[in-house]
């Protein structure tokens, strides 16, 4: 799922720190954003916008962090509104709903662990590419 590859250049200490921070950003936001799935996305988006003009390594990792948050947003928003409709409307708890929440939890947990791992690795200056998101980032994020 996660591959460690060589980046096109050796990132400096300052770059590694910034890139690592982009992942930490989404982790910190989880605490605040747990009930509202969009907060994580906003946090990483702000960080991404702030580093749009940063070096390639920093930009690359900000993009990967943002993309991963974006897909989690879909999963979590659906679960969030489903829960709201159960609480406030005549919708009832079904096995389907519980299964969805568990599936969402598994994916969130996987993403959470991957984020921590990537934050640690990028801090050391090691380039980490995720399954799917790594390739997607390669397509979007180009070295100038």
């Amino acid at each position: 799922m996660i591959t460690t590859t060589k980046f096109s250049y050796e990132p400096g200490e300052h770059e590694a720190e910034k890139a690592s921070n982009s992942y930490l950003m989404s982790l910190i936001a989880i605490v605040a954003g747990l009930p509202l799935p969009i907060i994580n996305l906003i946090a990483t988006l702000i960080f991404y916008l702030g580093n749009r003009k940063g070096t390639y390594f920093v930009r690359w990792h900000c993009t990967q962090a943002l993309l991963s948050q974006l897909s989690m947003l879909f999963i979590n928003s659906f679960g969030f509104w489903w829960t709201v409709s159960i609480i406030f409307t005549e919708e009832t708890i079904t096995s389907k709903y519980i299964a969805y929440i568990i599936a969402a939890l598994i994916f969130n947990l996987t993403e959470f662990i991957a984020t921590i791992y990537t934050a640690i690795q990028t801090r050391k200056g090691i380039h980490v590419e995720w399954w799917f998101y790594g390739n997607l980032t390669n397509l979007i994020c180009k070295s100038k």
Binding site: T89, E90, T94, A103, N135, L136
Partner: protein, 281 residues
């Protein structure tokens, strides 16, 4: 040389793109298959969700029943109870409804009303029985209320109007007696939404036909009561809370038109007359 290098680059780009799309699709499929695999487990039983809801419903039923029993005298006359039971039992057995689930209570009150409260309690006011011209009319109203019970409309309505948390707090004794009284009043004197009413009407016709009871008097009952003069309307709770009686009567007739079966009476005319006599005592 430059052209060759550029086409190589383009090929690589396409390769990455294809790989990304495949990986993306696999990820989406992975999520949905995880979800699908997890739905194979009956989580409701695992987490005992149903048990909690059933317990809440049971307690709410007892709570509301107590309020009605405190306000009105329950008619425990064996003849009356048995007569109404015979109608309910016939409807239940013909429609494979667990008879134990429907708990009928006849309360002595002039109001023409019948309603369902949680946990399968069905309250019938003596006014309704006395104002029904024949047993088929009464059976129709009973079927309509049984349909509300069977389709779980009662709990749905309570959850929508009051909220599950307020309902649970009622059962734990934190609801406040005023709130419980108001809720009980709402259950007895307001209708469900239009769609739920129609659903119950159609289901009631199905029940009636399966039990070999003619549904036409049920439609007539709606017609008749909607046409009654104003003086009587204050007693016609069941009609005034169920809007568009005329329209309802029409679709009941329409729905039952092509379902010709041989109808038979649940009880004899003598028993029906005696039942009314006993209620008037």
């Amino acid at each position: 040389m430059v052209v060759l290098w550029q086409s190589d680059k383009l090929n690589l780009q396409i390769k990455i793109m294809r790989k990304t799309i495949i990986q993306g699709l696999i990820t989406i499929m992975l999520f949905f298959s995880t979800w699908f695999a997890l739905t194979q487990i009956d989580w409701i039983t695992v987490f005992k969700v149903q048990k909690v809801t059933d317990k809440t419903e049971e307690k709410l039923g007892d709570l509301f029943l107590e309020i009605f029993q405190n306000n009105e005298k329950e008619n425990k006359n064996l003849f009356v109870v048995n007569s109404i039971d015979s109608i309910v039992t016939k409807i239940c057995s013909a429609n494979k409804i667990d008879r134990e689930l429907i708990k009928v209570h006849i309360l002595d009150k002039g109001e023409i009303n019948a309603f369902a409260i949680p946990n399968g309690h069905l309250i019938v006011y003596s006014g309704l029985i006395l104002n029904s011209d024949n047993q088929e009319e009464l059976s129709g109203v009973i079927c309509h209320e049984i349909a509300h019970i069977q389709l779980n409309h009662v709990m749905k309505k309570l959850v929508t109007e009051i909220g599950l948390s307020a309902l649970i707090s009622m059962t734990t004794g934190n609801g406040g007696s005023e709130v419980i009284k108001e809720t009980a009043k709402m259950l007895s004197s307001s209708a469900f939404d239009r769609n739920l009413e129609k659903e119950a009407d159609i289901k009631a016709v199905d029940y009636l036909i399966k039990a070999k009871i003619n549904p036409e008097p049920f439609a007539n009952f709606l017609f008749k009561l909607s046409a009654k003069d104003n003086e009587a309307t204050k007693y016609l709770t069941w009609i005034s809370t169920h809007p568009d009686s005329k329209e309802r009567a029409e679709y009941i007739i329409e729905y039952s038109k092509d379902k010709k079966t041989k109808y038979e009476a649940v009880m004899t005319i003598d028993t029906w007359d005696k039942l009314k006599e006993k209620l008037q005592e």
